[in-house]
């Protein structure tokens, strides 16, 4: 972390960048927030980079691209896919960004820790492979790898896809099969599938956090914010609206979703939203060939492409 701060201060001082987009210490060790830094003092005092800095900063670069001068942005390996995708869609300006690829050994999910039964957390410190957790009700510990975000269990690898320089070591933390959950659902009967999604989606409160955090959801005005049509605007009034919103949300990012996992991270109700995105990714891979959004800046997305021999929609039935 100190290395990042030193380097950021240098780049600020020599005028390469006008601001730094990183994370600011929270009032607890587990709640840092994304922040812009403009001075060395601010960096010294408030900057933090640690296990809880899971937020993907690439979406903030859409606005930062419109600011004067360059912005130094810190990206983890998986965030670089999102950034690439945004360049691909002309939503961010590569020239306005100075990218430091920061090391990542998997990011922690405070919800996972709490769900393991730990209450009243005051402090969490890393101790090798373990987390020492201090709480109002005594101390406990947990394996670092057990507290990871879902996305880290299916890590895309330790390689940064775009950067100006790298600081720190990364680690591939994948220990699960990426499509295992999707496959499990695919094998269910229609009744089971429906019951599963109904149960999960009925929790949705339509806070729109999944949409707003998504680096691929970058429309200036979302179709769901339109006052011109009569459903799916705010609160769900009917169970249909949850489905409609989530299908359309996932569909609008199909072929563009890098599977960064922010949607599932931010959902206050813990809905496994990645199951929608990953289903599209899996289908795209199967029908149109392997594709990883954001791996290549110049790639053409699968939904803006076609071949004469594409499968017919009836394949859904034929597959059984």
């Amino acid at each position: 972390m100190q290395k990042i701060v030193e380097r950021a201060k240098e780049l600020l001082a020599d005028g390469t960048v006008n601001r730094v987009l990183g994370w600011k210490k929270g009032d607890m060790c587990f709640n840092p927030e994304p922040a812009f830094f403009e001075t060395a003092e601010d960096l010294d005092e408030n900057f933090v980079y640690g296990g809880f800095c899971g937020a993907n900063l690439s979406k903030y670069m859409i606005d930062a691209s419109k600011l004067e001068g360059k912005t130094l942005v810190l990206l983890k390996p998986c965030d670089t896919y999102s950034f690439n995708q945004l360049i691909n869609e002309h939503r961010v300006d590569r020239e306005k960004a100075y990218i430091i690829g920061v090391g990542c050994k998997g990011k922690l999910n405070i919800e996972t820790i709490k769900q393991s039964g730990v209450k009243g957390i005051l402090n969490i410190t890393e101790n090798g492979d373990m987390l020492n957790i201090e709480t109002l009700y005594g101390n406990t510990e947990m394996k670092y790898s057990d507290a990871l975000l879902e996305r880290c269990h299916v890590c895309k690898g330790k390689e940064h896809k775009i950067y100006d320089e790298l600081i720190g070591e990364s680690q591939d933390t994948s220990d699960r099969e990426r499509f295992a959950e999707v496959e499990k659902i695919e094998k269910m009967s229609p009744e089971e599938k429906f019951a599963f999604f109904q149960k999960e989606l009925s929790k949705c409160i339509r806070c729109n956090a999944c949409r707003n955090v998504c680096p691929a959801c970058s429309c200036r005005k979302c179709v769901f914010d339109s006052t011109k049509f009569d459903s799916s605007q705010k609160a769900n009034t009917d169970s249909f609206e949850e489905k409609m919103f989530h299908i359309i949300r996932a569909f609008h990012v199909a072929g563009r979703c890098t599977d960064c996992g922010e949607c599932s991270r931010v959902c206050p109700q813990g809905i496994p939203l990645h199951l929608f995105n990953r289903k599209f990714i899996k289908d795209i891979n199967e029908f149109y060939g392997e594709y990883q959004a954001g791996a290549d800046v110049d790639a053409k997305g699968p939904l803006t492409e076609y071949t004469f021999g594409d499968c017919e929609p009836s394949i859904v039935k034929e597959r059984g």
Binding site: K243, K279, Y306, V316
Partner: protein, 145 residues
């Protein structure tokens, strides 16, 4: 599943202006019957059909939705139906994944000369929807009388 005689399905057919709608016209002028349960919505191109259209049709009470366009290669706009094909494939797959009976959605390529195909397709599709019964998984409860 026993067929419910009382059940009158509502079926929405999105037809592209250049081929399928003309196909429907031909079916009509050739006196080829297809059920009145099918409501045709004319779109400029099958590519115009946004996934939201399909969901909205279901929301407002459709029991089945079918999309018809020019045969691949024959699109009036050259390539529109190729894009539509990919989109619908993914959307239908998603609906299937969420437990919506996959017979409720269909895509068929119908040219302006294929009045017969249009009518048989519609007959088949309506038959299928009769066998599936009322759509209860995708629909807004408020729209049910």
């Amino acid at each position: 599943m026993p067929i419910n005689k009382e059940f009158k399905p509502k079926i929405v057919a999105f037809c592209c202006n250049w081929c399928s709608y003309a196909g429907a016209d031909l079916a009509g002028s050739s006196r080829l019957a297809y059920p009145a349960d099918v409501k045709i919505i004319k779109v400029p191109c099958s590519c115009r059909v946004n996934p939201m259209f399909i969901l909205r049709a279901f929301e407002k009470g459709a029991d089945g939705v079918i999309m018809c366009g020019c045969h691949p290669g024959d699109c009036h706009y050259s390539t529109g139906n190729y894009y539509a094909r990919r989109r619908m494939t993914l959307l239908f797959s998603m609906l299937d994944y969420m437990g919506v009976e996959n017979g409720r959605t269909r895509v068929e390529w119908v040219s302006a000369a294929e009045g017969v195909k249009f009518s048989t397709t519609m007959n088949e599709f309506v038959e299928k929807i009769y066998s599936l019964g009322e759509n209860v998984r995708l629909g807004d409860l408020r729209c049910k009388k």
